[in-house]
């Protein structure tokens, strides 16, 4: 991609970048020591449900496609009010959550659905409630970068907390540097 593509208005579908995900467990240690935040035991993978491939629109097909055994924690699907599909994983161990989200991503990519992936979200909650509020770490699959999202209400977010998370994690995690890409995810199903 360069100036020529820009001039002619060309874009090509971006391949998702999956490997940066594995930096999260290390960063979580910093989150715990600096901000007293621990994993909520929930993670979600958000993707756009397609209209064409009817074969993968049902939850059973998706489960089959993602090739999950139900032994390692609960897996469920939900569709949010904006029409996006969420794969939700429950597991008290962050390392397992990351591995399973990565596995789901990989099989989506293998089945040619990589372009549909929007983001992965990991929930973090105060170890000693109420603390300073919970934070979701959002992983932008196309950019391969993380950013924090700390909603405090229907359409309000705690920007100060988010910027503090960024300043603590800057060295551990590939953070999204362009703050205008720290989009909100209101009413998301991951806690």
């Amino acid at each position: 991609m360069g100036l020529r593509d820009a001039l002619f208005g060309r874009t090509k579908p971006a391949a998702p970048k999956l490997d940066n995900l594995f930096a999260l467990p290390t960063a979580a240690l910093t989150l715990q020591s600096q901000l007293d935040l621990v994993t909520s035991g929930e993670a979600g993978l958000c993707f756009k449900a397609g209209s064409g491939e009817s074969s993968i629109t049902s939850d059973e097909d998706l489960t089959q496609l993602l090739d999950f055994d139900e032994s390692g924690g609960k897996v469920s699907f939900t569709t949010d009010d904006l029409g996006f599909k969420w794969l939700l994983i429950h597991d008290p161990d962050l390392g397992n959550l990351v591995t399973r989200i990565h596995g789901a991503n990989t099989s989506m990519v293998e089945h040619g659905l990589g372009e549909r992936l929007l983001c992965a979200v990991f929930g973090f909650v105060p170890a000693t409630p109420p603390g300073e509020g919970s934070v979701r770490m959002v992983y932008l699959l196309k950019q391969g970068t993380f950013y924090p999202f700390a909603p405090t209400g229907k359409d309000q977010r705690d920007n100060e907390l988010e910027l503090r998370v960024q300043s603590f994690l800057g060295s551990d995690l590939p953070m999204e540097k362009d703050l205008s890409r720290w989009m909100a995810l209101w009413n998301l199903p991951v806690n």
Partner: protein
């Protein structure tokens, strides 16, 4: 004052600079063309003044149009109207028309050729980000622009700048055609013509920089009057912190709904870098906060 790590909104600065530069270039091109076709200088000045005047006279419509803003009634935006009503009573100024721009970027502006033709406008982004008190502070700042007749002042300032450029050009042309007479050959003429161009561009740029400096002072003046009007400089300071710098850049738009969704589903053709801004119509946040802090001590200390 402690040094903050808050940056300016480069995108907005660059946009404003480009707009200003485009305006100057437009004038330069029109003037050059007219002179080329043998139109007299007096006529060029009259046309330039006419353009400036219409820009001033229709300033409210031009600004509303370029920001995609629309006027709103008290029924549509009761909160915004209530705040403006109260401020106008407090400051004893006529109530301007009130508008809203449907964009997430936190911003507000006031424009119009006179206080009775003014329009005060807030973006949706600023209304969701600020609480009532902070929004009131920002609107007080904008109302001060109206009361200070900043649209008229800035029009005159940029008019003077253009006039300076024009006078510089006239002087150069005078030098070109007097003196040497028929002795000059074609090559020399071309060089002289280029020199004329360069000098008038330099004059335009200097005039533009001076206009920007004036604009920054007007902003500080509006900060001051606005803060005095509401009596709480610290609230305006907190509003500024919430809408400029890093916090102002974090969007409220939903990732799944964002218009720039393509940016997430497709790789961007050009990476979005931050262009450094050399010219700014607004003073730095540090300067503004510093002034407000002093004012807070004066008023409430």
């Amino acid at each position: 004052m402690a040094k903050t790590n808050i940056e300016k909104d480069h995108g907005l600065d660059v946009r404003m600079f480009i707009t200003g530069l485009a305006l100057v270039l437009l004038y330069a091109i029109i003037v050059t063309l007219l002179l080329r076709f043998g139109v007299s200088f007096v006529f060029v000045i009259v046309i330039g003044a006419g353009l400036l005047f219409s820009q001033y006279y229709f300033s409210d419509k031009i600004a509303m149009f370029s920001m995609h803003a629309h006027e709103v009634t008290p029924a549509e935006e009761p909160r915004l109207h209530q705040i403006v009503d109260r401020l106008c009573l407090l400051g004893n100024v006529p109530k301007p028309r009130v508008g809203v721009a449907e964009m997430d970027m936190p911003n507000a502006f006031a424009t119009g050729r006179s206080p009775s033709h003014a329009v005060i406008c807030a973006t949706r982004g600023i209304m969701t980000r600020l609480n009532d008190e902070e929004l009131e502070a920002v609107l007080a700042h904008e109302l001060s622009h109206v009361a200070h007749r900043d649209v008229a002042i800035m029009t005159i300032a940029s008019g003077v700048g253009m006039l300076a450029g024009l006078v510089g050009r006239i002087a150069m042309w005078g030098a070109m055609f007097s003196g040497g007479g028929n002795n000059r050959d074609g090559e020399q003429m071309v060089l002289l013509e280029i020199a004329t161009w360069l000098i008038s561009i330099v004059i335009y740029v200097i005039a533009y920089l001076l206009t920007m400096a004036l604009s920054r002072y007007r902003e500080l003046a509006a900060d001051r009057s606005g803060a005095i009007l509401i009596g709480k400089p610290s609230v305006l300071a907190s509003a500024l912190v919430h809408i400029t710098g890093d916090i102002g850049k974090i969007p409220r738009t939903d990732l799944r709904k964002s218009e720039g969704m393509n940016a997430f589903f497709f790789a961007p053709a050009l990476a979005s870098g931050t262009a450094a801004s050399l010219f700014s119509t607004h003073p730095s946040l540090e300067k503004r906060l510093d002034q407000l802090k002093k004012l807070e001590i004066e008023l409430n200390g």
